[in-house]
């Protein structure tokens, strides 16, 4: 499942990060996204569910749905 499709409160582990634009992937990695990291969709924006806010390790990261599509997550059972 893509991070952009996750429901609020859902949690899982990142299985892949790949974006068409290599700079977006670089940016996602530099701010802390990495394979096997636990993520939780903590908050959603007030208008049209975007941007989303994910809890990643010990940080909170906000990103738009377009960027969230670059991250695949396998949901916790």
């Amino acid at each position: 499942m893509l991070l952009s499709e996750m429901k609020k409160g859902a949690a899982g582990r990142i299985s892949a990060i790949s974006a068409e634009d290599p700079l977006i992937e670089a940016k996602l990695r530099e701010i802390g996204f990495a394979e096997n990291d636990a993520v939780e969709l903590a908050h959603i924006g007030p208008l049209g569910r975007t941007p989303v806010c994910v809890r990643l390790n010990r940080t909170l990261i906000a990103l738009r749905l377009d960027e969230a599509k670059a991250i695949s997550v396998s949901l916790d059972p």
């Binding site: 290599p22 700079l23 977006i24 992937e25 670089a26 940016k27 996602l28 990695r29 530099e30 701010i31 802390g32 990495a34 903590a42 908050h43 959603i44 924006g45 007030p46 208008l47 049209g48 975007t50 941007p51 806010c53 809890r55 390790n57 010990r58 940080t59 909170l60 990261i61 906000a62 990103l63 738009r64 377009d66 960027e67």
Partner: protein
């Protein structure tokens, strides 16, 4: 070493929110110089300090970045300084990492290490990490990184001693290290490799890691709630603007009375003559009328600085992103635009955090529409004179009108942004990837240093631009000596040339005259009106300016004047900043033109609308 004069250049780098400015203020005592590099719009803070071993250090504070793939201008500036593209690479880098966020922050350390930059790794906010329950094996970390590692607690002096004593040791051997080669941005495979290595090292060094900050989790449940969040944001902004107006009453009255008393004292103790008139009517009345608004500027910046330092501002950007996105902006533009409520200049400079050039240009062009504090003197004067001090429900009527003026600026900015994004600044939508920092209690020293920088900048303007224009205007209004009425003076003649142009929007000759020096800075118009009416009415005119205006202006004129000020780009400093940040006078000229067009149209519509409504 005998060359004590040559200071060692040390750059302070690190991710946003890792306590960089607190450490900078702690090391340098907050005495910073803002420096411009020739040929670029780079502006960085420089400070000096001496190590215990007696070495002079030139410390450079750089904008925060997560890694070496820069997207925003801010990040490019930081990286280019580190890589020495401005001519001289720093001799040593202090790489700040949040001790509680090693996994992520070590990535940029490894990227910098890969290009061979001489470096000390500083685990900042170490005390907070320990308090939260972290256990970190520092020897292991030093071993794995093959770099010197120190821990700091930037807020306390004792917390910086380890760093200072390490510095001397490292600086003594600095000549052995090759200077950093001109770097390049890392390739995707390098980023992945550094990410893997950073995690491996962090996992090896971290012995125990606590869960996510509980207080932040609880606060965010409310602050980021899809319904409650925007309500809290709106309430905060509303409270902030009401506070600016109501809390400042006492100090403003005090400063006003002091300026009046000073004018009276000087007036009574000086022989009559042109010098007497220049001091009393020109200098004291002109500068005094602007300095009285210092309390409001201080209150506004207090709010902005506290919201920023507590971690709330990034949440506001998150909440505002989608709505701003739909109007062609970016959530990141929220911070520059909110700063523009204090002053458009720091606001325009803060737009460097916006990654896309077109988004950035749009933000810069609309920043002057945010109601900056320089408009407050004008707004408060007119509101106090023409809007009754009644309560409408629980709200103060004057406060409501002020709020409406702020809203008018915001709404027009939004519409203009929408228009620009479809015409001159077309671009495809740009990404937003932003960290929301853990909430923290703002550091008192950082807060007061920042507040002082803002307040002193305002006073400096009062002492220079406004002093000069007050004197010039007084001269223009008082001479030639043969003039017995205002219309015959130099100012009257210039104003008379403008009057036919401004008469259709309800402006009289005095307004036309006040707008002449008011071109330099908005708040000058208050002093200018004071001077114009004081000279006009002669020395026997003891009425306050506000009462003078009540009898001289109709209500539609007053309202049109307020509308004019929502838009008019009367600030040389802002236009110069736009030129510097966009690299072209073309955009300054464009801003000047479109804002004056809006001002003229807005004032005209308000004037004729108010007349038609029978006001």
């Amino acid at each position: 070493m005998t060359a004590a004069a040559a200071a060692t250049r040390i750059a302070l780098v690190g991710a946003p929110n890792c306590g960089k400015s607190t450490l900078f203020n702690g090391l340098t005592g907050g005495r910073a110089k803002v420096a411009n590099y020739p040929g670029a719009t780079v502006e960085t803070r420089h400070g000096r300090f001496e190590t215990p071993g007696g070495r002079n250090v030139d410390l450079i504070d750089l904008p925060g970045f997560y890694g070496m793939s820069p997207r925003s201008l801010d990040e490019k500036i930081a990286l280019e300084t580190v890589l020495g593209k401005d001519g001289a690479a720093p001799e040593l880098i202090l790489a700040l990492v949040d001790a509680a966020n090693l996994r992520t922050h070590l990535q940029s350390v490894l990227q910098l290490r890969a290009i061979g930059a001489p470096m000390i790794v500083v685990l900042n906010m170490y005390d907070l990490a320990l308090r939260d329950g972290f256990e970190i094996d520092l020897d292991k970390l030093e071993q794995e990184l093959e770099l010197p590692v120190v821990t700091t607690n930037a807020t306390r002096k004792a917390g910086r001693e380890a760093l200072l004593s390490k510095l001397d040791g490292v600086l003594a051997h600095l000549t052995d290290i090759k200077p950093a080669p001109a770097g390049r941005y890392p390739a995707p495979e390098d980023i992945r490799a550094h990410q893997g290595a950073a995690r491996r090292i962090a996992d090896a060094a971290i012995e125990h890691e606590p869960l996510f900050n509980r207080a932040t989790r609880i606060i965010d449940r409310f602050v980021l709630h899809p319904l409650l969040g925007p309500v809290i944001l709106a309430a905060l902004l509303f409270f902030m603007f009401q506070a600016v107006f109501t809390w400042s009453t006492g100090p403003v009255d005090f400063l006003d009375a002091s300026a009046g008393a000073l004018g009276g004292f000087v007036g009574a103790h000086m022989p009559a003559g042109w010098l007497h008139d220049l001091l009393v009517d020109g200098v004291i009345a002109g500068v005094g009328s602007v300095v009285v608004f210092l309390p409001q500027i201080v209150i506004l910046f207090t709010f902005i600085l506290l919201l920023e330092a507590s971690g709330y501002m990034a949440r506001a950007a998150f909440l505002m992103d989608e709505i701003m996105h739909r109007f062609g902006l970016n959530g990141r533009a929220f911070i520059p635009l909110l700063s523009s409520f204090a002053c458009a200049i720091p606001g325009i400079m803060a737009s460097r955090v916006i990654e896309n050039d077109r988004d950035r240009l749009t933000t810069i062009l609309i920043a002057p529409l945010m109601t900056c504090s320089a408009r407050l003197p004008v707004y408060t004067l007119i509101i106090a004179a023409f809007i009754p001090k009644e309560n409408v429900g629980p709200f103060n009527m004057q406060g409501l009108v002020l709020f409406a003026l702020y809203i008018a600026g915001v709404v027009s900015a939004v519409l203009i942004a929408f228009l620009f994004k479809r015409t001159i600044a077309k671009a495809r939508s740009q990404p937003l990837i932003m960290e929301l920092p853990t909430y923290k209690v703002p550091n008192a020293k950082d807060f007061f240093i920042s507040l002082w920088m803002r307040a002193s900048a305002f006073l400096k303007r009062a002492g220079t631009v406004i002093l000069a224009t007050s004197v010039i205007l007084w001269f223009l209004a008082a001479f030639p000596a043969s003039a017995t009425t205002l219309r015959e003076s130099f100012a009257g003649r210039i104003g008379a040339l403008l009057e036919p142009l401004l008469a259709p929007i309800g402006f009289n000759l005095e307004i036309a005259i006040a707008l002449v020096p008011g071109m330099a800075a908005r708040e000058v118009a208050v002093g200018a009106l004071g001077t114009v009416y004081a000279v006009h009415g002669g020395p026997d005119n003891a009425q306050g300016l506000s009462e003078t205006l009540q009898s001289a202006w109709s209500l539609p004129t007053a309202l049109a004047f307020l509308a004019w000020y929502v838009f008019a780009p009367q600030c040389f400093a802002t236009l110069a900043t736009i030129r510097r940040e966009t690299g072209s006078w073309k955009w300054s000229g464009f801003a000047l033109l479109y804002l004056f067009t809006l001002a003229y149209a807005g004032a005209g519509i308000v004037y004729w609308g108010a007349r038609a409504a029978g006001l």
